[in-house]
């Protein structure tokens, strides 16, 4: 080691480091991102002008693809490229036209049912899938059951005059998203066809071969193989993960709750109104802070305790004093082998108020009172709860003090989670080279020193990303809360503000964000879809931070090979 490399870490240095990291990742990152966008747009136009000046013929072919996709390819005598592109556009146009009612508008329906007071939603009434989809996305519908429109009453569903059917905001939003996505695909194809027409001409101009169908297919198959094998998975992820996430996000900017019975009422874009309610109303803010702090505390504690116990177990089992390592490992790994849901529900039974194993054992041993006193001394239980329990300890249901339930959740999580780290660290221990310890022996290091300077750093370095991953996993560990405590115990009724109580949307004392979101969207008396979405976005922000941190630490990820 060089001299002077060991700089003492002071808190100031650490603070500076954190600030620097934040600056680099966010402020600088965002700045560079926008700079890149601006520069690339500028370059794009510069390149177009350059192309038009230097290669007018090739540019002309690009231009013809711009006006009529596929025309440029046709002029390049590449019908096998032109046909799919044209076909794609034809399919889009056919979809648009076949789902539209333009023909009725031309057929005089507009005169027969004139717009009243100038209110006419042309694309709603006559537009096809894409135009109506975009209209629906922006307006989220205008007319509901019972409204008067163009002199007629709106009904639930009218198969002859579709414009007489009521709007359903949720369907419109979903169809809007799909329409946007399909249009984006179309535009990408279009841009690619322009580029292709231009480049093909240039290649021929430069003396290249006119590609035949066979060589084209072969070239695509070899050069774009990487893309081709991704496509099926991409479509799957797109449909079943990305679009639903997008939908959930957009709902945050609407006022959609379960109170709006679709067909009879509409929801609309309210943009940041729901965010305002969450962050400005003291009632909601209190719950939000409670839940958020508990979520962070839970995620942190459950990751750290699990790691520490896993480390201790691995060290003890691997130590030279222990005989029968395999048997100990087999027993201690058991919680990992039992499926999580079953273990959690099992513990729900173990800590059941009436007849649970814990209460039974304490009663048998006559230790209930002393445990009660112990918990009281720790400040985890409330006298009222103890009296309500009638001799039983309310482990997970004590309303007056959620501390006991919270502590139990972390302990049970520890029971479930430590074997993973035990195995992980055992694996890492095997990879530490023996020579390090031998060198330390020669230098006369004690066992404690060896642990501090060799074992621990090696383990930490190998498992650091896993700790962050565990944190993010626990942050969203819905099952650990839902199956064990169900989010309960609820807050005492007098502590819940009226505005939250009427919605039935109050979280339980052990609810973390994700389980509260579940309650808000599926279980409360009035489904607060928009609120749930707002909290989803907040989760994205928190997890995103952790993800960025983890990625910036993970060098192997960025190493190109």
């Amino acid at each position: 080691m060089k001299e002077g490399t060991a700089i003492k870490k002071t808190p100031v240095d650490l603070g500076k480091k954190v600030l620097l990291w934040l600056y680099r990742t966010f402020i600088l990152g965002i700045f560079l991102f926008f700079k890149k966008i601006v520069v690339s747009i500028g370059l794009f136009f510069v390149n177009i002008v350059k192309a038009a000046k230097e290669h007018p013929k090739a540019f002309g072919k690009g231009l013809s693809s711009f006006f009529l996709p596929g025309l440029g390819q046709f002029r390049n005598k590449q019908w096998y490229k032109a046909v799919p592109i044209v076909l794609m556009f034809v399919v889009f146009i056919v979809i648009e036209l076949s789902t539209s009612n333009y023909i009725f508008a031309l057929g005089g329906e507009l005169n027969q049912y004139p717009a009243e007071d100038g209110v006419l939603y042309f694309f709603r009434d006559y537009g096809g899938y894409f135009t109506a989809g975009i209209w629906g996305f922006f307006t989220l519908g205008r007319l509901v059951l019972g409204n008067m429109y163009r002199g007629e009453r709106i009904v639930v569903n009218d198969n002859i005059f579709t414009w007489k059917s009521a709007d359903n905001s949720q369907v419109l939003l979903g169809e809007g998203i799909i329409a946007f996505v399909l249009i984006a695909i179309l535009i990408i194809t279009w841009v690619m066809s322009i580029k292709d027409a231009y480049q093909t001409h240039r290649r021929v101009e430069d003396g290249g071969e006119q590609e035949s169908l066979q060589t084209f297919i072969k070239r695509v198959w070899t050069d774009y193989f990487a893309y081709i094998i991704i496509i099926p998975s991409a479509i799957l992820i797109f449909l079943f993960t990305l679009v639903p996430f997008l939908f959930s996000f957009l709902v945050a900017f609407t006022n959609w709750t379960g109170r709006i019975s679709l067909g009879e009422m509409l929801f609309k874009w309210t943009f940041f109104e729901t965010f305002g309610m969450v962050f400005q109303s003291a009632d909601w803010l209190k719950f939000f802070w409670d839940v958020l702090l508990w979520t962070i505390f839970y995620a942190f504690m459950s990751s750290v305790t699990v790691y520490v116990l896993g480390l201790i177990q691995a060290m003890i089992i691997e130590s030279k004093y222990v005989v029968g390592k395999k048997i100990w490992r087999l027993i201690l790994i058991l919680p990992w082998a039992i499926p999580g849901m079953i273990s959690l529900m099992l513990f729900r039974n173990v800590f059941a108020d009436n007849g649970g194993l814990m209460n039974q054992v304490l009663a048998q041993m006559g230790a209930t009172e002393s445990v009660k006193n112990f918990l009281r001394a720790l400040g985890l239980v409330n006298q009222v709860d103890l009296e309500v329990g009638l001799g039983n300890i309310l482990w997970l249901t004590g309303r007056q003090n959620g501390g006991l339930a919270k502590a139990l959740i972390i302990i049970v999580n520890l029971w479930l989670g430590y074997p993973y780290f035990m195995m992980l660290i055992t694996g890492v221990l095997g990879t530490i080279p023996e020579s390090l310890y031998e060198a330390a022996d020669i230098d006369g290091a004690s066992a404690g020193q060896k642990f501090k300077y060799i074992t621990l750093p090696m383990i930490l370095r190998a498992t650091a990303p896993v700790i962050v991953t565990t944190f993010t996993f626990n942050f969203n560990n819905f099952g650990a809360i839902y199956f064990l405590s169900g989010g309960g115990p609820g807050y005492p009724l007098e502590q819940i503000p009226q505005s939250v109580l009427v919605l039935g949307a109050a979280p339980g004392q052990t609810d973390i964000l994700i389980s509260w979101i579940y309650k808000l969207s599926f279980r409360s008396t009035v489904n607060q879809y928009n609120l749930a979405s707002v909290y989803s976005i907040l989760i994205f922000v928190f997890i995103g931070l952790a993800a960025i941190y983890n990625l910036s630490k993970l060098k192997s990820f960025w190493e190109e090979d």
Partner: protein
């Protein structure tokens, strides 16, 4: 270093004589005492005494390392191996060990006079065995230690010996640490096993209330009522209907199998693409996948539910499977990518020179080498859907999977609410899963460590 058969036999004989008797005695005492201690039926005075013997019995395993250590010390002192261990400290250790021995005898004497006789007998036997062992080994020991004592010109011993190292490094602190280690492992094992044993005992209980489950399993009273009920209960009255559990099991089995196939195919393709090719947008895609894998798929569940309802996909296992597959591709892609990156690229290049196409390289070279990681993914993908509750409960409201069906037993609002039956059903599901886990442990651990080192 040669093995020393006599040394080994002598130690083994001595160990067997004392350790064996001690272990048998100890296990018997712990079991009997704990029963006495826990059962309400026994007389208070007896219970109080049982408490003490129980504690004393816990002390006994601590004696074992002391005994082992004494044997070695005796040998060392006979050979005057002062070079190997500091003499004064050695004497101190011997004294401390003896104090422990005497303290143990005193404790037992105070609590159980009858056991005292037994204990003294065993101790005499132990000390005798120590002597026998030492005498038996003396010759071998001497030669062995002489060779160990040879130093080179720098004053470093030429040979190292585990026993010698052990003796040299053994301190009282370490003896206590060793005792602590066993006590800790024992405690942890009890904590791990207790709920599981209770669960098993509950599944064999004929009753409906948790309170009816005995704390200490009583095999004589076990009944199979719950198991029979589990496999025969049918909610519909139609003749020839398949029992609910079997139906749920088959549904889940189909979901899990399909998911396994899809996930293995898709993620090995994507992983192959990401590990082998450079292409535009690779980093962005990887980054977004990294972000995606951190969010549970049920965050988009509301939208999925609405879409499914609109397109008539509710209650369709295939549609549910696709959600699972889409949700698990990102994570598995990373696992596969990490593995495939370690397969040398020269293999691909050689294949390329021989004229193999991309597809041939994938199927003939990469896939055969990536079988372990694909096994890991397959097992994970197969196990995933078995006990997932939320998605199926929303997406298949009128068709049960095993988890949904199990959860109903734990739902106080349900008509079939019965925690005991839940334990039965859970056990029936958990045991096969645990067996699969046990068989696949090698792959699982492999997947873990590869994930840890390479990210």
């Amino acid at each position: 270093m040669e093995k020393k058969p006599v040394l080994f036999i002598g130690k083994f004989l001595a160990s067997f004589l004392t350790f064996g008797i001690f272990t048998v005695l100890w296990i018997r005492t712990v079991i009997v005492r704990s029963f006495l201690l826990l059962s309400k039926a026994s007389i208070p005075a007896r219970r109080r005494r049982a408490k003490w013997t129980f504690l004393a019995a816990l002390f006994v395993p601590m004696y074992l390392p002391i005994w082992y250590y004494q044997t070695d010390l005796q040998l060392a002192s006979r050979l005057n191996e002062v070079n190997l261990t500091k003499p004064n400290r050695g004497a101190l250790k011997l004294a401390v060990a003896s104090v422990f021995q005497i303290a143990l005898i005193l404790v037992v004497l105070l609590v159980r006079p009858l056991n005292f006789v037994l204990l003294v007998g065993v101790l005499i036997l132990a000390i005798g065995a120590q002597g026998v062992a030492a005498t038996l080994c003396e010759h071998e020991f001497e030669a062995h230690y002489q060779s160990l004592l040879t130093k080179n010109e720098y004053g470093i011993f030429l040979q190292e010996d585990k026993t010698a190292l052990f003796l040299r490094r053994l301190t009282l602190l370490k003896v206590i640490l060793g005792i602590f280690a066993y006590a800790w492992l024992l405690l942890m094992s009890v904590i791990v096993l207790t709920p599981v044993v209770w669960m098993i005992s509950a599944s064999f209980t004929n009753g409906t209330q948790l309170a009816q489950v005995p704390i200490i399993p009583n095999i004589a009273q076990w009944s199979f009522v719950n198991y029979i009920d589990l496999f025969t209960y049918t909610s519909t009255t139609a003749a020839g209907a398949i029992p609910d559990y079997i139906k749920a099991f088959l549904t889940t089995l189909s979901i899990a199998s399909l998911n396994m196939v899809l996930v293995v195919v898709f993620s090995s393709l994507v992983g192959f693409s990401f590990s082998r090719y450079k292409f535009k947008g690779k980093k962005q895609v990887l980054l977004s996948m990294m972000a995606l894998q951190m969010f549970p798929s049920f965050m988009g569940m509301l939208a999925l539910f609405m879409f499914f309802r609109q397109f008539g996909l509710l209650n369709k296992p295939i549609a549910l499977t696709l959600i699972y597959t889409a949700g698990s591709i990102p994570y598995n892609t990373f696992v596969v990518r990490g593995f495939m990156r370690n397969i040398p690229k020269s293999l691909d290049e050689a294949a390329f020179i021989d004229g193999a196409s991309n597809l041939q390289t994938l199927f003939r070279i990469i896939i055969p080498l990536a079988v372990p990681i694909m096994g890991f993914i397959a097992v994970n993908a197969f196990m995933g859907p078995w006990l997932d509750y939320i998605l199926p409960s929303v997406m298949m409201p009128s068709r049960d999977t095993v988890a949904v069906w199990l959860f109903r037993y734990m739902d106080p609002l349900s008509a079939t609410y019965s925690p005991i039956k839940f334990m039965t059903g859970a056990l029936v599901i958990a045991v096969p899963i645990m067996i699969v886990q046990a068989f696949m442990q090698r792959y699982l651990v492999y997947g873990l460590t590869s994930g840890a080192e390479k990210g």
